[in-house]
Subunit: 213 residues, 2 copies
């Protein structure tokens, strides 16, 4: 491969790490907008849609351009394949953060999250942001050991989602059907966010070792 | 490219069409299991997991093998790129059908869907199965016009999902919180199914024209 293609390959990791960082910020701010019923912050997150779509699209174009012009093989090919999968995962991360911001906007000026549910949402958001941060580091450094540690964290999110459903479905629930539906969907968005963050980071396992799924 | 690679490229379309057909069957049967509270049918759908994962994995391996060994360009490269995206979409279609079957299993022997909600679910399932059928035809034939017609159908699913939320959140709702949460999640699964079916079919637009997103 030509020298400038190596630079582009190196750039793909940095690029996806930057995109991952942005999705972590989007999730943190979406959660803040949700918990504070902050309309203007919710709209800021929703407006990140264009930027995230553009980053996804650019990442794909660079990767496809490398395939078309450089015909990479072995590890270089895996870098490009994993970049295609990673930007697709990261685009979903962004969309899920925006879904959360949309719940905040739809319920404004009311709070979508009753006070007894706040600790669950805070915890899910903290884990989601942490997974995005960890995925970012993995994407930037191709750290195989760190990539392999991630799925354990995702299990915590599954457990939290189940605990939250139990809370909503318990006889003591007194916030009605609309709040229950909001919370169930929010829990799903956080869980999917965690899943895609782990999936993006796991691409590094494929990149380094060639092992799939 | 070598002659046998052309056969493999041709095979990718047929292969993804077959996988798409399987997801349509999975959705239809998951819905039937849901509406009839049929545990054994639900478990049959859930057991399709292994087969769908294997098809996804094989599709990816063939596509990556073509990239590594044949260094395809132009339309041949687009066939491979789109195959990678398509099998990822189809894998999600399968997972979503299985999520629906899981709701049926979790509620068994009770019915997860109250009788007044049945028409919504039947309609969403019909549209989902129809989209999977249309996507299958598009993948088999690379029919650009048919691929471009699909997003309109997806709008109908969005409208149905909204109508269903209104129904669940109306003052007349008398099935409690647990049923409301089930229905909200089910509606989301059907809507995501439609979205991924359309996305898979739209890859044919990229394949034929090179236009992205």
């Amino acid at each position: 491969m030509r020298e400038d293609s190596h630079l582009q390959l190196f750039g793909l990791g940095e690029y996806s790490a930057a995109m991952c960082q942005l999705t972590g910020i989007a999730l943190r701010e979406a959660t803040q907008a949700l918990l504070d019923a902050d309309l203007s912050l919710a709209e800021q997150v929703i407006a990140m849609d264009t930027q995230l779509d553009q980053m996804w699209s650019t990442g794909e174009q660079v990767a496809i351009g490398l395939l078309a012009l450089q015909a990479p093989v072995a590890r270089d090919l895996r870098i490009v394949i994993s970049a295609l999968r990673i930007v697709a995962d990261l685009q979903r991360l962004g969309v899920l953060a925006i879904h959360i911001a949309n719940v905040a906007r739809r319920r404004h000026p009311a709070h979508a999250v009753p006070s007894d549910v706040r600790p669950f949402i805070e915890r899910m958001s903290r884990i989601g942001v942490q997974l995005a941060d960890e995925a970012e580091a993995v994407l930037r450094t191709d750290d195989l050991a760190a990539a392999r540690r991630l799925p354990v964290d995702d299990d915590i999110m599954d457990d939290l989602q189940r605990d939250l459903y139990h809370h909503v479905l318990a006889p003591g629930w007194r916030h009605g059907v609309a709040a229950a539906v909001d919370i169930a969907l929010l829990a799903r968005f956080y869980e999917r966010f965690a899943d895609h963050a782990v999936s993006a980071a796991q691409q590094v396992v494929y990149l380094v070792t060639g092992e799939t799924h």
